[in-house]
């Protein structure tokens, strides 16, 4: 037995020694981070840049970096709906963002490019959280553009972003609840203004009874609640419906039985297209109203001619009379062969705003970006309507308060709740196409 027990002892000792050596080696590589490190959580290997004011060249970083050279791109993250029920928005966002990246990288941010890592939220809260986890904790981005859908944005904020320094700016969230979270910025204005506008519109058109159906999620619920609050007349039918159902004939027939002549739809394109087809083949007639998400090419392509003529929709809108929007629209048309939607404009502005915030910040960290992101587009400072102009102001030595970026979707100007100033447009469907008939300032 002795030789075996000797082997045993040796083996055990060997294990212990290896373990000890391993721990020792690790300990040797350890140090604490209490000397002004880039405090962003979980960031590893990301560029710790300094706040050079438009000069090229020296990083001036503190040796703990990955020795990344000064031409590495700034990486920020984006959670987008590439798949799932909101994927149409995701596509529009991507177009807007890509156009913005072209603009930004033509000039660069202090000689460096901007790169956006995009992850898919699958239009689900859970997917959004997982996507954000990866972006914040694995890729270590200090700035997160996300997400599409108010519920998803809130879930990401509460689960991943809150308590960190990461800046979150949602490109497409109109639910009312985001107003309660000042740390969560959004580029699309709150739906409250839409609900108010709809309520006024319906009342002005002479309808004192309305039947409502809304999509059963945060967006639908919050807009409907705000509408019901604001509306003076009687809401004779108010019922949610699930997303992605094959058929909504039950809801439609109930709306018809309610006797109201004004029907309000707060839902998404796919669901609305289904409803329109069912209304058409059931022969119902009513005056339709809708919130922003029921409008779009998907609906027009998938519904028969004349089925929604006369419908009025309130959409958040880019100021389409403004010059910068015109040039954005023509660039967009050149690039993609179609007119931009306001959703593309929001995403575009998110990227530009992020780029400017990075340029104006002292370092590429969440804390520093929090300081600048609101101010570069805030009301103080010289108005600039393009990235080029705004970047120039910063390059000439200006600080974040010296520039006021006017976005293609509006003046932006985040308020203390992180909501932008909004423009609304009232669209009417005429000859199966959308025509703007009115503008409302939020």
């Amino acid at each position: 037995m002795s030789p075996n027990s000797m082997d045993l002892v040796d083996r055990r000792t060997l294990l212990k020694l290896t373990g000890g050596a391993g721990v020792g080696a690790l300990a040797g590589c350890l140090s604490t981070t209490d000397d002004g490190e880039d405090g962003s959580d979980g960031s590893d290997g990301s560029d710790g840049s300094d706040g050079s004011d438009g000069e090229n060249g020296t990083d001036g970083d503190d040796g703990s970096d990955d020795g990344g050279d000064s031409t590495d791109a700034y990486e920020i993250g984006m959670v987008d709906s590439q798949t799932g029920s909101l994927s149409a928005f995701g596509e529009r966002n991507q177009r807007g963002v890509n156009l913005a990246l072209q603009r930004v990288n033509e000039i660069g941010i202090d000689g460096r490019d901007l790169e956006i890592i995009v992850e898919d939220s699958e239009s689900e809260n859970q997917g959004g959280i997982a996507a954000a986890q990866k972006l914040v904790n694995q890729d270590g981005v200090p700035f997160l553009i996300g997400a599409v859908g108010s519920g998803v944005s809130l879930a990401i904020y509460e689960s991943v972003v809150e308590g960190t320094d990461v800046v979150q700016l949602s490109q497409n969230s109109t639910g009312l609840n985001l107003t309660d979270f000042p740390g969560l910025l959004r580029m699309s204005p709150s739906g409250r203004s839409q609900s108010l506008a709809l309520s006024n519109l319906i009342t002005d058109d002479g309808y004192d009874e309305v039947a409502i159906t809304y999509v059963n999620n945060d967006y639908g619920q919050s807009l409907t609640d705000a509408f019901v609050d604001a509306y003076d007349g009687e809401v004779v039918y108010n019922s949610p419906h699930d997303q992605e159902q094959q058929s909504y004939s039950g809801v439609i027939s109930e709306m018809n039985s309610s006797g109201a002549d004004a029907w309000l739809f707060i839902t998404y394109q796919a669901e609305f297209a289904t409803m329109v087809n069912e209304v058409y083949s059931s022969g119902y007639e009513a005056q339709f109203y809708g919130a922003d998400s029921v409008s779009g090419d998907n609906v027009l392509e998938n519904t028969p001619e004349g089925s929604i003529d006369g419908m009025k929709i309130v959409v958040p809108s880019a100021p389409i009379e403004e010059e910068n929007y015109q040039s954005f629209a023509s660039d967009f048309e050149e690039e993609y062969g179609r007119q931009p939607t306001s959703w593309a404009a929001y995403a575009y502005d998110c990227a530009i705003n992020a780029a400017l915030a990075i340029q104006a910040a002292d370092e590429f960290t969440g804390a520093a970006l929090q300081e600048t992101v609101r101010r570069v587009s805030g009301p103080e400072g010289e108005e600039a309507t393009s990235f080029e102009a705004a970047s120039q102001i910063l390059a000439d030595g200006g600080g974040p308060d010296d520039v006021d970026y006017q976005g293609v979707s509006g003046p932006i100007d985040f308020d203390e709740n992180g909501d932008p100033v909004g423009f609304l447009q009232v669209l009417e469907v005429q000859d199966h196409a959308y025509e703007g008939i009115d503008f409302i300032e939020g």
């Binding site: 419906h241 992605e244 796919a270 083949s281 022969g283």
Partner: protein, 319 residues
């Protein structure tokens, strides 16, 4: 909408469910396992028809508002669904050496594969057939019935297929063999019936009917990769209600479940109108019998049937 109107809608929806439930019941009784890929077989039929219709177009005339090309696409959809099912049976199910539970689990994997392939090819959103939607039939509108010619076509085609199946089962050789196998597989084999051959034909018929159901579902509502799977549980409810192993039971079950599903708004009105004694009971019933729970009602019925009369309306022994 009047009761008549709900009944009419129920008839149309039932036609689709019946096409699905017959197929499922056939496979259940002869291949002896619960085929969870049945819903996605419907999806395959629907998308095949979409592609075919897109390729051939209208082909001139139309009947009942549906161009001839659509009927051609329907036939192709049926055929492809059948082929895919037979292929799956030969390649996957037959070589497997597992019991019926193992086959059930495998069929779930197959369902995912079908759905994934369709989603990869067509994306995850909705599409429709490129057919002009119609207005409801004028003469029926005063009765509160709002159906279009398309709906008539769906009911008519389903009726034709079902009658055809009945004829097959009762008056042909193959039908007799199928009924024999469903009754007693061992005896059938002993008496010289080529069970493998009959099984294949069962798959062809079952999947073909499912494919037809899928095409009509796409016409009635829309097409999406999840369309079949979403309907699968409702079809299971229909099959169980009708009694597993009985084709006629499946027809009855499909008809009933389809009706109940579309009549839910009507029931909801009835419940609201009735004065029900304990207040809490009234609130609970009002909440639960509403269109959000239309599918749930079918599931509950299914569970109740399983508890009370597992054989269903017309089925054979459950154990």
């Amino acid at each position: 909408m009047t009761v008549l109107g709900y009944l009419a809608n129920g008839l149309v929806f039932s036609s689709i469910i019946v096409l699905g439930s017959i197929g499922l019941s056939l496979v259940y009784s002869i291949a002896d396992f619960a085929n969870f890929a049945h819903g996605d077989t419907m999806t395959i039929g629907a998308y095949t028809a979409l592609v075919t219709f897109g390729a051939v177009g209208g082909l001139g005339g139309a009947v009942l508002g549906l161009p001839y090309g659509f009927f051609l696409a329907l036939v192709v959809g049926i055929a492809v669904a059948a082929v895919v099912a037979v292929g799956t049976e030969k390649l996957i199910y037959e070589p497997l050496d597992v019991d019926s539970i193992g086959l059930l689990i495998t069929s779930i994997g197959i369902a995912f594969i079908y759905r994934a392939v369709i989603q990869i090819r067509f994306g995850s959103g909705f599409t429709r057939f490129d057919i002009q939607p119609l207005r409801p039939i004028e003469s029926l509108v005063p009765y509160g019935v709002r159906v279009t010619l398309h709906d008539v076509a769906i009911v008519g085609s389903a009726a034709v297929l079902v009658v055809g199946l009945h004829v097959l089962l009762q008056y042909t050789d193959l039908g007799r063999k199928m009924r024999a196998m469903a009754d007693n597989p061992d005896l059938a084999r002993v008496s010289g019936i080529r069970t493998k051959r009959v099984k294949l034909w069962t798959w062809v018929i079952g999947a073909g009917l499912a494919g037809a159901g899928g095409v009509f579902l796409g016409l009635f509502n829309q097409l999406s990769p999840r369309m079949g799977f979403n309907l699968l549980l409702v079809i299971f409810a229909a099959v169980i209600l009708g009694g597993i192993g009985s084709v006629y039971g499946a027809m009855a079950g499909g008809f009933l479940i389809g009706m109940i599903n579309q009549l839910t708004p009507f029931f909801s009105n009835v419940v609201e109108a009735l004065p029900i004694a304990p207040n809490w009971l009234e609130t609970v019933l009002e909440n639960l019998i509403s269109i959000e729970y239309a599918n749930a009602i079918a599931f509950v019925i299914m569970v109740v049937v399983l508890l009370v009369r597992p054989n269903g309306i017309a089925g054979e022994g459950a154990t």
